[in-house]
């Protein structure tokens, strides 16, 4: 239905973010300071980088729940080697290692054909257990400034992690919109059956998508462990929910087939703003979970509400055109 480039559907999250910022700036003086917004951009990058990869995964109709545990394992690996290899090699290594983990996930999903949700749920436990086993539960640290500067520093006033995010998001947008691979991802999400018939090698594309998610998680792991100067086996529990929430709030359809990397980034900024605002308004940390869960539910139900409205409109139109035909029965969500 979205024919206009600037439809509400495509720009909804941007408008929501602008409104939220306006309300916060009106009620809290700290939201009138540029440094608050810069800090929000920094925090949003840690979720955003991984969410860019996850956008591909969700567009293709899959999920990866293991990214939080993978992040912990990769962060530990990164901190452990960065002192020996230097920053650039550590980035290359951790990205490749992430890609390797992603490849394992992809093999379970695409080759063994285990539903993605379940396969990655199992890997969620395995990666976390491995992270614990290799460190024996102890945190690993590396505090040289040239390393911690990546997560904590700024370049020309802009937080460095956000520069990473913008660069990766731009690259990902190009891949999604302008390359055959991007078209395959969208096609698989739209109809796996039709893509198969039209000769797309589905297993290979899905394998590549999960590998991609792993690689992006690797970059996020470097940024986060640099930000914290350390990594441990208990870090970022629940990270996968933040990531998936950002993708879905950004309007990527859970049933696959459509989505936008740019909106994912805006949604990540929105969540970072929500967290900052809840801290500034002294919302209890347990209550924050409940709020985030409810925002999530709202985001997930957007697709359902939209199709419900569309169906009602269609039914009304049909009954107007052919008043004698009884409307179809109630239908429920596919479980």
């Amino acid at each position: 239905m979205a024919t206009s480039r600037f439809s509400l559907r495509e720009r909804g999250i941007l408008i929501a973010l602008a409104l939220f910022w306006a309300v916060c700036a009106g009620t809290n003086t700290m939201f009138r300071d540029v440094s608050t917004y810069l800090s929000i951009l920094r925090e949003s990058s840690f979720v955003g980088v991984c969410a860019v990869g996850m956008t591909f995964c969700i567009i293709s109709g899959d999920f990866d729940l293991s990214v939080g545990s993978m992040l912990s394992l990769l962060g530990i690996a990164c901190v452990a080697i960065v002192g020996h290899t230097g920053l650039f090699l550590a980035l290359v290594f951790v990205t490749l290692l992430g890609a390797g983990c992603g490849l394992i996930n992809g093999a379970l999903v695409a080759l063994l054909r285990i539903p993605a949700f379940i396969a990655t749920l199992a890997m969620y436990f395995i990666y976390r257990a491995l992270a614990y086993i290799v460190t024996n539960g102890q945190p690993v640290q590396f505090q040289e400034p040239w390393f911690t500067e990546v997560g904590n520093g700024s370049l020309a006033g802009v937080p460095t992690p956000f520069l990473f995010l913008v660069a990766l998001a731009a690259g990902a947008t190009y891949v999604l919109r302008r390359t055959p691979f991007g078209r395959y991802v969208l096609a698989i999400g739209n109809s796996r059956r039709a893509s198969e018939i039209s000769g797309i090698r589905i297993a290979r594309v899905r394998l590549a998508i999960f590998t991609l998610v792993g690689a992006f998680t690797g970059v996020a792991a470097l940024l986060i462990s640099s930000r914290m100067w350390s990594a441990n086996s208990g870090m970022k529990i629940g990270y996968e929910f933040d990531v998936i929430a950002a993708v879905v709030l950004g309007g990527t359809s859970l049933s696959g087939g459509k989505g936008s990397v740019a909106n994912t980034v805006v949604a990540a900024v929105f969540f970072a703003s929500l967290n900052t605002a809840m801290n500034m308004f002294h919302v209890d940390s347990y209550m924050q979970r409940v709020v985030i869960g409810i925002v999530l539910l709202f985001a997930f139900s957007l697709t359902g509400i939209r199709s419900f409205v569309a169906e009602r409109l269609r039914l009304r139109q049909e009954s107007r055109e052919a008043p004698k035909v009884a409307p179809g029965g109630e239908s429920a969500a596919a479980p």
């Binding site: 285990i114 949700f117 749920l121 199992a122």
Partner: protein, 313 residues
């Protein structure tokens, strides 16, 4: 025929073989005290898995049960001193029923996939549990009547075992012989056909979620009785263990085919493995690794069997 038999009873063989192996490695597993302990632990997984068998047969999932388990321990931890053990359990069942109905309403009325819906409520319900107790322990060391649920006996049988037997007899009866069971299988094997043939899909789905939540409350009651503590952080990963037991027991992920007794045996198998590894002195994290790997193997087998069946038909 032989393949079919092998497929149905494979899990029993695996459970027996595993038990035999551990019996050789650590004879402690055979002591009476350990067996009662083992069966009590198995009961916690098995009872919740009985509910989950209906959810997965119906083509859905409930990921929020770990949080419902935590909330149950909190409700009991807070209320047993005021209402007594049975009164508090009644309240917990009510709370569980309401939360399950909320899950069901979200799935059917907001039309969110069960996975994602229960993923969100998993976060929210755990938030409730933590808010309710302020993140602290609610201990019951002065209220030993709760101990009946793990230490007591019903008709001469240890209570957890009697409860498990009761739950599974009812679950099997409901699955096999009631209209509800037929509807669940119908929805799971073909949702569109179920709708067209007039099955009340929405109310059946809501009932399924009430069932998973209330069976989890029963598991939570046993857990509280064992720990004598309510805490909002217990039961992390409980949903995974329960889903593993259900799938390992032969309930197909693609829906429509459940196996109630298989679920019971698989829950027992998982507990035997955990108990055996414990007695062998393997640290907690290695056990988690082992469980994750077993889960993957079970899923791979399930998917291979499914493909085999498709090819044959």
């Amino acid at each position: 025929m032989l393949g079919r038999l092998f497929e149905s009873y494979f899990i029993y063989l695996v459970a027996a073989a595993t038990f035999a192996v551990f019996a050789i490695l650590t004879p402690t597993i055979l002591t009476g005290a350990n067996i009662v302990n083992l069966l009590t632990n198995a009961a916690m997984v098995a009872i919740a898995a009985a509910g989950m068998t209906f959810a997965i047969t119906g083509g859905g999932f409930d990921l929020s049960i770990g949080s419902i388990l935590a909330l149950t321990t909190c409700v009991l931890g807070k209320l047993v001193p005021h209402l007594g053990a049975w009164g508090a359990v009644a309240v917990a069942l009510l709370v569980g029923g309401v939360l399950g109905a909320v899950n069901g309403l979200i799935v059917t009325k907001l039309r969110i996939q069960t996975f994602v819906a229960t993923l969100s409520t998993m976060i929210v319900y755990r938030g409730f549990a933590l808010i309710y107790t302020g993140g602290r322990d609610a201990t019951l060391y002065a209220n030993l009547d709760v101990k009946y649920f793990t230490g007591g006996e019903l008709l001469g049988i240890p209570f957890p075992i009697a409860l498990t037997a009761l739950v599974f007899l009812v679950a099997y009866g409901a699955y096999r012989f009631t209209p509800f069971g037929v509807r669940v299988r119908g929805i799971g094997s073909n949702l569109a056909a179920a709708q067209v043939s007039g099955i009340p899909v929405d109310s059946t789905l809501i009932a399924i979620f009430v069932l998973t939540a209330t069976t989890t409350v029963l598991s939570g009651t046993l857990l509280t009785s064992q720990l004598l503590t309510g805490n909002g952080r217990v039961g992390l990963g409980f949903e995974l263990e329960v889903i593993t037991a259900t799938i390992l027991g032969g309930t197909s992920l693609s829906g429509g085919r459940g196996n109630v007794w298989g679920t019971l045996v698989a829950a027992l198998l998982l507990t035997i493995i955990a108990n055996g590894l414990n007695l062998l002195g393997l640290p907690d994290q290695y056990q988690r690794l082992a469980k994750g790997l077993i889960f993957i193997v079970a899923l791979a087998l399930d998917s291979l069997l499914r493909r085999f069946r498709e090819r044959r038909s």
